[in-house]
């Protein structure tokens, strides 16, 4: 049942998210949940402010001692140490190579394993309400970054699974969906501090069954939406870029006429068209949901012909069938390792996809598309050793460095290297062992999850919950008593409790 819920909730996200919206089940909570405004990437002042805050919050130096360090970029260090300073990795090496200041907090990680924070290039976690602006075939004007909820408990749960960075995507209900948001899971921080300052802007495209509404019947009274075929999906994408070029031409003409001293009427500003123009200029990275090999080829061809680039193919379950074409285009692939058969276009999904794409030279990652799976992407990476025989080093990159590269953030995340962000996960054993669990997770040098601390907090939480429930019950009892028939509200005296 749970798996089904996952499948329905995420893989067929069009279905449930929109039904949820239609039914109005969540509407009641949408307006009331406290939410911090998101930082707009284009506002440098705010961006600077949150960098400052993040640094201030993680001023404490930390040294992790005596661990097996899986650096990702330069092998394994036995009995290794990492010094964290100012939210960054200041030193990495064997125990004797790493000197730490006397006041640094020491984490004894003897017998434990350390790896960089897991990068999830396909998340819908912390999205408030629906992930789909379902009403238009191209909804590229909307932004997921505007609707992030920093109280989503799944963020904390994912930190407890070692995931620290995520690309939070719009849904797959339309060929061109909304703009997505790259964040760090900075639990406990205002949501304005979540976006990574120098992360690229991104947008979601989607091909196949979801944008053509194959597994979703619109509610009564609502007509079916174009497109209904893969042909229509292609047309929507192509036409959008044709429109964007015309839009640019109109503005160019206007500027030219102005230059000539004429007094032209300016074209109408259109934020959807401006988004499309930014894709053409390479200012927004395209991450496209896709399954079947034919639709993958379609997108690569449209991109070639219309002059834009695809950054990452998402899901890309049949990527192995056209791996050399994907590699030739320099496009990445982020996929589920072993999910298959949940719909017709996932029938030929095989767990060897990751290995076959990797061998063909495709930059490949494993990602979640699920609040649940995002808690153990390390295990999905391990499965690439089992199915298709990737080396441990190659497999470790699937959930760390390769995702960082797909997000164009490998200069700051994805490995344990000096100068990179201190996004670090300490495991009780090798992260590829099913018997291991996360002990501690650091984001930007700050401990945001710790198993021991979590156990202690549970007791406090239980006490607090008990007290609050009691208080509420007491108050209710008191009110009931005061509201006895024959007594008006004015006469009610809460302090009179003789009986």
């Amino acid at each position: 049942m749970k798996i089904l819920k996952d499948v329905v909730g995420c893989r067929l996200s069009v279905v449930t998210r929109s039904i949820r919206y239609v039914v109005g089940a969540r509407l009641a909570t949408v307006g009331t949940t406290k939410r911090q405004p998101t930082t707009d990437n284009r506002q440098p002042l705010l961006a600077l402010a949150f960098i400052f805050l993040a640094t201030a919050a993680s001023a404490q130096d930390i040294v992790i001692r005596d661990a097996t360090i899986l650096t990702i970029t330069h092998g394994k260090i036995e009995h290794g140490s990492i010094l964290v300073h100012g939210g960054k990795i200041a030193a990495v090496g064997t125990n004797d190579q790493v000197k730490a200041p006397a006041n640094a907090q020491v984490i004894d990680a003897a017998g434990k394993f350390v790896m960089p924070g897991i990068v999830d290039t396909h998340s819908h976690t912390a999205v408030e309400g629906s992930v789909n602006e379902i009403s238009l075939p191209n909804s590229g004007m909307v932004r997921i970054g505007d609707v992030l909820n920093n109280e989503d408990i799944n963020v904390y749960r994912q930190l407890a699974g070692g995931t620290t960075t995520a690309l939070v995507l719009h849904g797959s209900a339309n060929p061109i969906g909304g703009q997505s948001q790259i964040v760090k899971w900075k639990w406990g921080h205002p949501v304005s501090e979540w976006p990574i300052a120098d992360a690229p802007r991104t947008i979601k495209f989607a091909l196949g069954e979801n944008p053509k509404s194959s597994n979703f019947r619109p509610p009564p009274g609502i007509p079916a939406q174009y497109p209904q075929t893969r042909m229509g999906v292609e047309e929507v994408i192509r036409q959008s870029f044709i429109d964007a070029k015309d839009y640019t031409a109109r503005w160019d003409e206007y500027e030219a006429r102005k230059k000539r001293g004429e007094n032209p009427i300016p074209p109408r500003h259109d934020i959807l068209m401006e988004t499309m123009v930014d894709i053409l200029k390479g200012k927004i990275d395209v991450h496209s949901h896709c399954y079947r090999s034919d639709e993958i080829m379609m997108l690569l061809n449209v991109a070639d012909e219309e002059g834009f680039k695809i950054r990452e193919l998402q899901h890309v379950l049949e990527g192995y069938k056209v791996a050399k074409e994907i590699a030739a285009h320099g496009v990445g692939g982020g996929t589920f390792i072993d999910w298959w058969g949940f719909k017709a276009e996932a029938w030929d999904a095989i767990p060897y996809n990751v290995a076959l794409m990797t061998r063909a030279g495709v930059l490949t990652s494993v990602n979640s598309d699920s609040d649940e799976l995002a808690r153990h992407l390390n295990q999905d990476a391990a499965k690439a050793m089992k199915y298709g025989g990737l080396s441990e080093e190659e497999a470790l990159k699937l959930c760390t460095l390769n995702g960082a590269k797909q997000l164009r953030l490998d200069h700051r995340i994805g490995s344990i290297d000096v100068g990179k962000d201190a996004d670090i996960v300490i495991w009780t054993g090798h992260p590829f062992s099913t018997y291991s669990r996360v002990e501690t997770t650091l984001v930007d040098g700050e401990i945001l999850f710790d198993h021991t601390r979590d156990l202690a907090m549970r007791k406090d939480m239980a006490t607090e919950k008990k007290e609050r429930l009691k208080k509420e019950a007491d108050e209710e009892a008191k009110n009931k008593k005061n509201a006895k028939p024959g007594k008006s509200d004015d006469e009610a005296k809460p302090e009179v409790t003789n009986d």
């Binding site: 909570t29 298959w340 058969g341 649940e372 808690r375 089992k386 018997y435």
Partner: protein, 455 residues
Amino acid sequence: MTNEARSASSVAPAARRLDRWRLAGGLLACMIATSAFAQSVILNSPGKKPLVAIRNATIVPVTSAPIPNGTIVFNNGVITAVGANIAIPANATVIDGTGLFVYPGLIDSGSHVGLEEISAVPGTVDTAELGDINPNARAEIAVNPHSNIIPVTRVNGITTVVTEPEGGIISGSSAMIQLAGWTPQEMTLKAPLAMHIHFPRLRSNAFDEAPPDEEAAKEAAKNYTKQIDKLHDTFRDAQAYAKASAARTNNAAIKRIDRDVILEALVPVVEGREPVVIHANLERDIRAALKFADEFKLKVILADAEDVARVIPELKSRNIPVILGPILSLPPHEDDPYDLVFTNAKTLYDAGIPFAIQSQDSHNARNLPYQAAACAAFGLPKDVALRSITIAPAQIFGLADKIGSLETGKLANIIVTDGDPLEIVTHVRRLFIGGEEITLDTNQTLLWEKFKARP
């Protein structure tokens, strides 16, 4: 048209009807031929149950201590000897197990394997019948022995599964099936295995736990009461039906009653001969389920049960076993500990309550061993995690004389591995079901080979 396709069209009645429309008939024949080809690797069993000895392996019988450098012998589908110093029969096929491990085949205590193919394509899904009360629905009737999911389930060592219906309130009965066989009947170890009740839940819609507003809450409560009443009414009718049937059996003079297949399916249940697997997740629902079970004196197995830690004394006092899983799922409440579902197994183990683990899946039932391992990552002893997908389900479902461990006299459901089957990086090297060696090829490995060779 190939001969194969011709013969396919000549035997298929549908194709016969379409003979006049050559094109249509030809197309259908091609489809049949294609699907026959696609399933060619799923030859479930060569039909031989040879005398085999695996020696020099680490043998993990589960019910006793691991045997280094041990030998296991099986013949005619049954284990004939297990131990350190076993004489190998002269005519046995000998497998050298040096560096390898031998375990009993793993058992999934709850799945839909065989009952569905592509989740989003209704024509391929046979898990849920219409309506709330379907005790007469029997899983083994709809198991497709040639489902592509079956070989995929085997790759990580699962040889046996409980496959179950899931619709409505009384969903129907499950079957314990071997993942090999040419017909559902050959596959079936025991059916009906248990009656499955998906206990009514107090909720307003399919997506949210809490009713969003007062009106919806009232509606949900009304609907809930209706469902509970329906369940009670059905069981009272079944009790009366059982009583009437028994009375007539003992006394032919008593007036005949018309047969009712729905109530008839519940007779062994109300008479306590067939267990009921009650699926309930939240504390409130579990308590309601226990009350219901008490009233009708049912032999209960509690399933799903994410809130199980809140009802330990109640389960203990009633001696109710639990089927947990999927373990890799989110906690039911926002304020639950993040590891609630991972730690439930340890909680039950500490309390001495028997439990097994289920995938509650079909396509990825193959990940069952990693679900069990997740419990061990959070405190359950590793050997108990292994038991939860071998001997524990066999005991809970009353099949411990046949499956669940490597013991003389049991079915030769055997896997040979290069390590601990609960670790992802371990490979299953050979797999035997009822003494027959079964291929580890799947359509997925075929596609892998095919596209590895793409020029």
